[in-house]
């Protein structure tokens, strides 16, 4: 049966693959995506301790490589950066972070993007809901004219609270994992400052 291994490999590549522009975030403290999928054993302890119920486990909807791994859908329920999940991971797929301002600033789940054609404030109506939801106001996000949100890539932790709070439908502000920014048209590469 071991000799059949070469026949399995092409099959494995044809298994359902996740969406390249996936609309989900990993919990805070997660290692880089590839490393994370390798070390996560899908025990679900992070989803168990999350007091905000924002972490859920994947079924098969995002491909076999993501099965039983944790995800956060920021629009449905965003991360409140309590760091409970980073304390319990048995394989260090989520690296330990402290629930302190420093720990919060070390999180790198993604980067928020404002779709200016959808945003109320950019249409001249004062809104500012995303700014009020932001855990790092003035740092990760500043306000312009009519409370227009301006995201600062070097400080945004990608918790998704702005996306959850956005009054527009569909949301005018979205959080995208940083590793996928390079896949965006134009190849955006914005680094976060440690």
């Amino acid at each position: 049966m071991g000799a059949l291994l070469p026949f399995f490999l092409p099959l494995l590549e044809r298994l359902p693959q996740g969406n390249r522009f996936r609309r989900f975030l990993r919990p805070p403290g997660a290692k880089p995506e590839k490393e994370f999928v390798q070390s996560c054993i899908g025990c679900g302890q992070c989803a168990n301790v999350c007091p905000n119920k924002c972490i859920s486990l994947f079924g098969l909807e995002a491909g076999i490589e993501n099965l039983a791994t944790p995800k956060i859908s920021a629009r449905a329920q965003a991360c409140i950066l309590c760091m409970a999940c980073t304390q319990v991971c048995p394989t260090d797929a989520l690296e330990k972070l402290e629930p302190t301002p420093e720990g919060m600033r070390a999180v790198d789940m993604g980067l928020a993007f404002v779709a200016e054609d959808l945003c109320y404030s950019f249409a001249g109506r004062t809104c500012g809901v995303c700014y009020r939801a932001c855990p790092l106001p003035g740092e990760a996000m500043t306000l312009g004219l009519y409370e227009q949100p301006h995201v600062h890539a070097e400080h945004c932790v990608g918790c998704g609270l702005c996306e959850q709070a956005c009054v527009q439908m569909p949301q005018a502000i979205r959080v995208v994992p940083r590793a996928e920014l390079a896949d965006f048209p134009g190849g955006v590469t914005l680094k976060k400052q440690a």
């Binding site: 390798q38 996560c40 054993i41 119920k53 490589e65 039983a68 394989t91 260090d92």
Partner: protein, 355 residues
């Protein structure tokens, strides 16, 4: 040693299995109660007038943790809440990976495939693996018969099978090569290494049972907060179908086929526990070759053929009360190197159709 000759220790074993199974349900319930408590939802649930089963479950947990349901009893309500939350956090997880009062426990198979997929070891994983691996090295494959929640389900299915057999239903017992599980383990680990995805956990019943229990309990309590019309309902996933399929095959087609021949975790435990310090031993002069122990063995082994039934024995000890002449006993100590010579000199055992 006398208790080993009676059926009592089998009931004790099923009691241990049942408490592990119910323990997983309890941890899932406590996790949900913790979420309700940290979201201040317990107060809302207390005030609710609609009677529903999740509500009474939450109130029962509330009474357990806060006395007579009056809420925070300490002078500082915030302090009391934090203490309760910390206390609730101390037990979590399932047999795939759990934490009991700071003691991290991870299934060796989870560790093996995580190492195979990531090609590196980290400290947290090693700490979690320490106790299960050392226990398996000393005691052998005891996890399968004493702790595994799927093993408990399959044990119960075996009891149903015995009942059906008593009713003279035509049950098949298709033999399968026991080595299949090692092939599955090696191929699974190799695929995990090549594809960098820990694949084995997706069809390893104890992990699936734990995940399914958590899904079911979460949906049970989720209905209380979000969907009062469906109070008391639970949702299950395809995992249940998979487990039901195994149970069906084991009852009607082939006895205990998963644990005997297919379980990659069982294979890993067998390999780890090859040099165990506890064994079932046959005292040859007293053995009458009645094959009662062979018929009763859930793992399909032959306890009377040579000194020990081999490394695949999972110490369920079902053969001990079945042995009428009392030639089977438990042996403690290092394995003897000369056991192979004894095997050659001992009389060839009659093969049985039940194997």
């Amino acid at each position: 040693m006398k208790i080993l000759r009676s059926q009592a220790h089998q009931w004790f074993r099923h009691l241990v299995q049942l408490s592990v199974f119910l323990g997983i349900v309890a941890t899932a319930c406590l996790a949900n109660y913790r979420i309700f408590l940290s979201q201040n939802q317990v107060e809302t649930i207390r005030a609710q007038e609609v009677e529903s089963s999740p509500r009474s479950a939450v109130l029962a947990m509330d009474r357990l943790y806060h006395g007579s349901g009056t809420g925070e009893t300490a002078s500082d309500p915030h302090q009391s809440r934090q203490e309760t939350l910390a206390r609730l956090k101390a037990i979590r997880g399932n047999t795939w990976s759990a934490e009991l009062y700071g003691l991290s426990l991870t299934d060796p198979l989870a560790g093996a495939e995580s190492i195979a997929a990531g090609k590196k070891i980290n400290r947290a994983l090693l700490l979690g693996l320490l106790i299960p691996v050392v226990a398996t090295l000393l005691l052998g494959r005891f996890f399968c018969s004493w702790i595994c929640p799927a093993g408990f389900l399959f044990d119960m299915a075996d009891k149903v099978r015995a009942l059906l057999a008593k009713m003279r239903l035509p049950l098949h017992n298709t033999p399968l090569w026991h080595g299949n599980k090692y092939v599955l383990l090696v191929v699974g680990l190799a695929l995990a290494g090549v594809s960098s995805i820990p694949l084995l956990g997706f069809f390893y019943p104890p992990a699936l049972v734990g995940r399914e229990i958590h899904t079911a309990v979460d949906s049970f309590f989720g209905n209380l907060a979000e969907n009062p019309q469906r109070a008391g309902a639970i949702s299950l996933t395809a995992i249940s179908l998979f487990l039901l399929g195994i149970v069906f095959v084991e009852v009607f087609l082939s006895r205990r086929v998963w644990c005997r021949c297919l379980c990659p975790g069982g294979a890993l435990y067998t390999l780890l526990g090859a040099a165990r310090l506890v064994r079932v031993k046959n005292d040859h002069p007293r053995c009458t070759h009645c094959t009662e122990c062979v018929k009763v063995c859930p793992m399909g082994l032959n306890p009377m053929s040579h000194d020990t039934p081999g490394p695949e024995c999972d110490h369920c000890l079902a053969c001990l009360p079945a042995c009428a002449p009392g030639s089977l006993s438990l042996e403690f100590g290092l394995p003897r190197i000369s056991s192979r010579k004894r095997k050659e000199s001992s009389p060839p055992a009659p093969t049985s159709s039940t194997r």
